[in-house]
């Protein structure tokens, strides 16, 4: 019901939305919750387990009942708190966890089955027959218990993430926060003020009181206007700070366009990472309920929320409101309602002494022991020394006192401290370094106290940062003492709710204690109290008070459960903003990428790079046809392949050779200028790290190549070796992978082909095998290396990356004129298998130089990384699995990678395993599958036969063991 003349909603701007298809009218400034209450819609949800009818309970992010689904289709968003969702024209809101409708929910039968669904029921019931749990019981329970559901469509909404830095972060814009922000800002600090509400002001917007002689909400608005005018203040409304992390880092969720019918391209949410030098937490406090029988009826609300609805939204949540309180705050609710003409049935004060009524009856020493009415509250029964009485009422405002919102102070493993004066847990200074608390979250509940503390804490913070503190004038404000006598649960029969969101009752907690789940952490997990999306904001304190009572301990001894981020639910989409689809991982494209794609090459990922698999011709329908052709093309004419993705590290300095001698197993200081050498790199534990060629371009200048996959790790390793082990070496290095485009030109026609492209003469004198040097290509200075990864007479030609595209075109054109062309990764792989060259399939992190037959490359004359450890027993010898070649010799001709090797007559089980295949391919050169494998004592077993068994693909192939170099074993073609 709307109350005339109250609230800050804009009554000149009506807004209409739908709730379960029904049109509901509200005003600009309303939330879904306030608009529903204004229209007397009390039933808004069904509870998680028992499908009990539920209504709006609170007015903020702590709301435990009124979870709704907003939007439709791909934009559908479940479990939105109706108290946080601002309304706009066309907003579509639906209730959830009910069938067929909110009003007639057949699953409410669960409420009748409650005796079987108590704490830990799934551990005890539905046990028989055993197989039924997984197939019947669990699916049924899961379907009937629950919250809203996902659309199961791709999330089409936009999300963003961002970083912010500030001197002082103020969390919460109530009296303490506003005062803190203004004080810090006036002192000159860079201030960021975040609040989860759409309108800053906190409780000042929900209370009827004066500050500095004007209405509190008006004073707050003036403060906000002043803050907004300051250049060193950033205001972040609709932003919940969700977590406190190391070294002044905070996570925060900004809801950017949830309240707009047309986002106009703006993201829905933004997840902020805020880095603050100092933080003042002014998160306020959360009013606690009191547990009594049927205290979950729609219409039973937080007393402070009732004040908020009346004062801020101009909505009376009932026509005859009763207040149940254990402190003076409940009386404020009665006073505010009365002042705007709403009938107050009575204030039921559990204390025997309390303020006297101002035009409404107050019953002292009264405890509510039952509530009547199923889909809406109709009556409450209260008990006094003189017996029980029933009162007709449609709204019960309950205040059980306040719990400081200490959550963020505990995110770094801190525990709050029990405070007798407020009968609650308060924050401990220093639990989050750099963070201090002010106002209600520090247990200072009066407005004046909050203002004063906000100013003081801000002055402390700015002083610590080197600013001069200011003389903050704290305005006159309400300063009533907090009179409260604890009351957690009213004794009596029936179910009394503690955790509304997860349907946990007083009985459940007592049951847990009885079954010896006495630790608060055990009780939580056994009953699921505090494990719903609200994380027990309104229930944890009550639950542990009940547990303390049931176990005969005090509340401080019982302790709290652990507070963990996030403070409110954060969508995965916001956390992972930008990381969908093309943004999931960076893409690295070579200069030939466009040409490869144009020519129909399927691109495969190699690390972050994209490389062509093969180049299909018009008549080729299977990849093998293209691959076979490309292999033959390289063997018989010439092929061109982009090898720019290999890591390239430019190493310069007088000690460059010394560094290389230390990181490579073999010697590079003896390498002549203009020559290239193959090098092997070990990890310090003696296994092979990477391999590649390094060219000496000058006395003090080398260019190292690494494998594509290891480019980053090798760069890091070289820097590590230099900075951490040999800083005395005068050497510098830089990755130039991106700066050079490099192409392999391989095949008997390769020299002929390059002759038309390279300006200089290329012959055995100028570019012998493993020679290198500078060249000119179309007037551009480039480099030519005579190296081969195919076993053919081959070169790699490099130019600055900006010329890569045109050089590639020229190379392919020229190759095609000579009967060759471009080749892809599949052909490259077959060529190197034929030649027995290794890749990371072979040097996969468990193999040693001995295993791959390169132990002679570990120089005996010098130390190198990994040398000592590679000489450990067990890392060499007959027992090791050694690199061999495999050729099929039986009726089955197929080889598969990852298959296991067994002796011919052995049973193919793990105990008999002799080795495994690492790389296989069909060789058109030999018209047979060829494989590289590791076989126990393999080098001594050339000529033997073994069985290759692939249990996964069901392939068993008899193979002959041979030398891994199948093709041109004396290297004549490569050197010639």
């Amino acid at each position: 019901m709307r109350v005339a003349g109250k609230g800050c909603v804009d009554r000149s701007k009506p807004v209409s939305f739908t709730f379960d298809g029904r049109r509901v009218q509200g005003f600009a400034g309303d939330t879904v919750a306030s608009a529903l209450l204004a229209n007397d819609i009390k039933l808004v949800a069904r509870s998680f387990k028992y499908h009990r009818p539920r209504g709006v309970m609170g007015a903020g992010s702590e709301e435990a009942n009124a979870l709704v689904t907003v939007g439709r289709g791909a934009h559908q968003e479940p479990n939105v708190r109706a108290t946080m969702q601002e309304i706009y024209d066309g907003l579509e809101v639906r209730s959830q966890n009910r069938w067929p409708s909110l009003d007639v929910d057949l699953l409410a039968v669960n409420d009748l089955a409650a005796p079987f669904l108590g704490a830990g029921f799934y551990y005890k019931t539905f046990m028989w027959p055993k197989a039924f749990w997984e197939r019947v019981y669990e699916p049924v329970i899961r379907r009937s218990a629950g919250l809203g559901s996902l659309s199961r469509e791709h999330n089409a909404d936009l999300y963003e993430k961002a970083f912010a830095f500030c001197d002082v972060l103020v969390i919460g814009a109530g009296p303490a926060g506003l005062m803190a922000a203004l004080t810090a800002a006036r002192a000159g600090a860079d201030v960021l003020l975040a609040d989860e509400d759409s309108t800053l002001g906190g409780r000042l917007n929900g209370e009827c009181e004066d500050i500095d002689g004007i209405a509190a909400a008006e004073w707050a608005a003036d403060m906000v206007a002043e803050l907004a005018s300051l250049p060193n203040v950033r205001l972040m409304p609709r932003t919940t700070v969700t977590g406190a992390y190391d070294h002044g880092t905070y996570g925060a969720l900004e809801r950017i366009s949830h309240h707009l019918s047309d986002a106009s391209g703006r993201p829905l949410e933004c997840f902020w990472r805020i880095v603050a030098k100092r933080t003042i937490l002014c998160a306020g406090a959360i009013e606690r309920p009191i547990a009594f029988r049927n205290n979950d009826r729609p219409g039973i609300m937080s007393a402070a929320a009732v004040r908020t609805y009346v004062n801020r939204y101009g909505v009376a949540p009932g026509r005859a409101v009763t207040v149940f309180t254990n402190n003076d705050d409940g009386h404020r609710t009665a006073r505010d309602l009365k002042a705007c003409g709403v009938h107050v049935t009575a204030v039921l004060d559990s204390r025997n002494d309390g303020p006297s009524g101002q035009g409404y009856p107050v019953i002292y020493g009264a405890e509510v022991c039952d509530a009547g009415g199923r889909k809406a509250l109709e009556s409450v029964t209260y008990r006094t020394v003189s017996g029980e009485e029933k009162l007709g009422t449609d709204c019960l405002a309950v205040s059980g006192g306040w719990n400081p919102a200490v959550h963020l102070t505990c995110h770094m493993n801190g525990r709050p401290e029990w405070r007798d004066d407020i009968q609650s847990f308060g924050p401990v200074e220093g639990m989050v370094p750099g963070l201090t608390t002010a106002g209600a979250c520090n247990g200072t509940f009066s407005t004046l106290g909050a203002l004063q503390e906000g100013a003081d804490k801000a002055n402390d913070a700015v002083q610590a940062l080197g600013f001069k503190s200011i003389d903050a004038e704290v305005p006159a404000a309400e300063d009533a003492p907090y009179n409260m006598a604890p009351l957690w649960a009213v004794a009596g029969r029936g179910r009394a709710w503690l955790d509304f969101q997860n349907d946990v009752t007083v009985k459940d907690v007592k049951q847990a204690a009885k079954e010896n789940f006495r630790s608060v952490e055990h009780m939580k997990r056994y009953t699921t109290q505090g494990m719903a999306p609200d994380q027990g904001k309104t229930s944890s304190m009550g639950a542990l008070a009940v547990l303390a009572d049931a176990t005969g301990r005090g509340i401080p001894e019982t302790g709290t459960t652990t507070f963990r981020p996030p403070f409110v639910p954060v969508s995965i989409a916001a956390l992972g903003a930008g990381a969908q689809g093309i943004g999931f991982a960076p893409e690295r494209l070579t200069t030939s990428h466009e040409a490869s794609v144009t020519n129909g090459a399927p691109m495969i990922e190699a690390g972050l790079w994209y490389r062509p698999s093969y180049y299909p011709k018009a008549d080729e329908t299977k990849w093998r046809q293209s691959c076979d052709r490309e292999v033959q093309m390289v063997r018989n004419a010439v092929g061109v392949c982009d090898v720019s993705t290999l890591g390239k590290i430019d190493i310069q300095g007088p000690d460059a050779a010394v560094l290389l001698d230390f990181v490579y197993t073999n010697t590079f200081s003896t390498l002549k200028v203009g020559k290239v050498r193959y090098g092997l790199m070990l990890r310090e534990d003696g296994t092979v790290m990477d391999d590649g060629t390094t060219a000496r371009l000058g006395e003090d200048h080398f260019v190292m190549t690494t494998t594509t996959a290891a480019a980053g790790p090798v760069m890091r390793h070289l820097e590590y070796v230099h900075q951490c082990l040999r800083p005395e070496l005068d050497v510098s290095m830089v990755s130039v992978t991106e700066q050079w485009a490099q192409f392999a030109v391989a095949g008997p026609e390769s020299r002929e082909m390059l002759a038309g492209i390279v300006g200089e003469e290329i012959d055995t004198e100028t570019f012998p095998f493993m020679g290198c040097g500078e060249i000119t290509v179309g007037g551009v200075r480039g480099r030519l290396f005579r190296i081969s990864f195919s076993g053919e007479h081959a070169y790699e030609i490099a130019v600055p990356a900006r010329y890569g595209k045109s050089l590639y075109q020229a190379l392919v054109q020229r190759a095609e004129a000579l009967g060759g062309g471009a080749y892809g990764m599949e052909a490259l792989n077959v060529l190197r298998i034929e030649k027995g060259f290794i890749t990371h399939s072979e040097i996969h992190g468990r193999t040693t130089a001995f295993d791959i037959g390169l132990e002679r490359m570990v120089s005996a004359k010098k130390d190198c990384i990994g040398k000592t450890m590679s000489e450990r027993p067990g890392l060499y010898g007959d027992e090791r699995e050694q690199l061999v070649g495999l050729k099929p010799v039986g009726p089955v001709k197929q080889l598969t990678a990852g298959a296991h090797l067994f002796e011919v007559d052995a049973e193919p089980v793990r105990e008999n395993e002799q080795g495994y295949t690492t790389s296989v391919g069909f060789s058109p050169t030999f018209e047979s599958f060829l494989g590289l494998a590791f076989l126990r004592n393999g080098r001594a077993r050339h000529g033997e036969q073994v069985m290759m068994v692939d249990h996964l693909r069901g392939v068993t192939t008899r193979c002959e063991v041979c030398d891994p170099v199948f093709f041109d074993s004396d290297g004549g073609r490569m050197r010639g």
């Binding site: 070294h247 990472r273 820097e719 590590y720 951490c724 000592t868």
Partner: protein
């Protein structure tokens, strides 16, 4: 988590690569005992308290940094260039 790179200043954790214990700086001689090499390559303490480890400012200047920090309080007590420390100890 924030680390202060001696070259670049205070930066977010995600700019750094974590290597492990700073014992990696103290590489034994090639002819040191097996036990020394075993300790160097494999054996690590897991202290609740102060620890020194190596970080690489991979998303920044490329400096290897020795970070002294407390694993209990998460305080970062000191950050130094590995090369400075190594040269000072030489």
């Amino acid at each position: 988590m924030r680390l202060t790179c001696p070259h670049c200043g205070e930066r977010d954790l995600r700019e750094f690569y974590y290597q492990g214990d700073a014992v990696a700086l103290n590489r034994p001689d090639p002819d040191a005992t097996d036990v020394e090499w075993d300790d160097y390559v494999h054996n690590r303490d897991n202290p609740a308290g102060e620890t020194r480890d190596l970080w690489y400012h991979e998303g920044g200047c490329g400096a290897w940094i020795v970070v002294t920090r407390n694993t209990v309080t998460h305080d970062v007590l000191c950050t130094e260039l590995a090369s400075d420390l190594k040269e000072a100890s030489a």
